[in-house]
Assembly symmetry: C2
Homo-oligomer: 202 residues x 2
């Protein structure tokens, strides 16, 4: 398999951490493929007309995207405990928390595009503040719900950790740990995993 | 169950069409809850810290979001043919196409925010063009792959139809049918379903 990815993308990191935790990383060739919403990348567009990464090129299922579809596909390739639980009473809480992590990443990426990619004279403070408010509320919710991050490994923990790692990478000024000791403790532990070390953005 | 939704939201429409097709609409109370990225909506934020709709309030699984998680949850509540197939060789193509439809909606919403919500003097043509390019490429891909839209009902067909309906609603100028006769024919048929009629944005 081949993974179109970029080192800075939290969604691509989620896939890389997932693959690493499942022992599937050796089966995947990583292809550096950075994208921007304001620029075409024909190689990526050919695999995904949305020109977004990650994209997983497979022999049996073609070009798979987005990260959520890829993660579920990978979870189907191994015989250990599922990181997306199959049993409904376990599945919905995990998928909901994973969706929150994805939404946090989305808001952070939109905030990044607004504050860094867009020319300064075209920036709209209300938009940036709106995205930052989503991030703050999501972080507060995760702090309250931190107990849900301490079970057996699942896709929600991976998503939350990749979202927090992205905040450290691009929004250090947010100081997300302040007032959120339980979420900070979760991340400090999770960030020690080899899968997280190997995929840390620089 | 209660669904926080807005009539104009293509993601909320996808959930409503899904519920209608599954015969679950009578079990859901619709609660009109419009949101904007630049404005808080405390009622929605309390259920989903990302302040996005749709959110499904359930008695057994709490507040579920986003639309993809809700659709899978609803698909688990009935005993007919799954709209998200369980068998892997059928599941990945459907989830990939459904993800393309979601990405098309995302690009259309971002284009809408750029062109209509953002003050005119802060609009960035390159951003708008970038999102419109994603839409055009996604439409071209769907035209090429139209045969995949003609099997038994699935979540990909629902997603694509709701995305196209949103283009009709907000981007009539795009004239997406031009040069895409097969996609237009799919939509013309699909839009006749009572589930689509009942959820048409006005």
């Amino acid at each position: 398999m081949q993974l179109l990815y970029a080192a800075a993308s939290p969604f691509a990191r989620k896939v890389r951490v997932m693959a690493s935790e499942l022992g599937l990383l050796d089966a995947i060739v990583l292809i550096d493929s950075s994208v921007l919403p304001t620029r075409d990348n024909p190689e990526v567009s050919q695999a995904n007309p949305l020109t977004k990464i990650p994209v997983l090129l497979t022999s049996d299922a073609g070009a798979l995207y987005d990260s959520r579809v890829i993660c579920e596909y990978l979870d189907n390739l191994h015989h250990g405990e599922r990181l997306l639980p199959l049993e409904p009473s376990k599945r919905w809480p995990v998928l909901q928390l994973a969706a929150l992590a994805d939404g946090l990443m989305d808001a952070a990426l939109l905030a990044r595009y607004e504050g860094s990619a867009r020319p300064a004279e075209l920036q709209w403070p209300a938009w940036l503040e709106g995205q930052l408010s989503k991030i703050e509320r999501a972080l507060d919710h995760l702090e309250q719900q931190h107990a849900r991050l301490h079970g057996p490994l699942d896709i929600a923990q991976i998503g939350v950790a990749c979202a927090l790692g992205y905040l450290d990478f691009r929004f250090a000024d947010l100081a997300w740990r302040e007032g959120r000791p339980n979420l900070a403790a979760f991340y400090e532990g999770f960030a020690q995993r080899p899968s997280m070390h190997a995929s840390k953005p620089v």
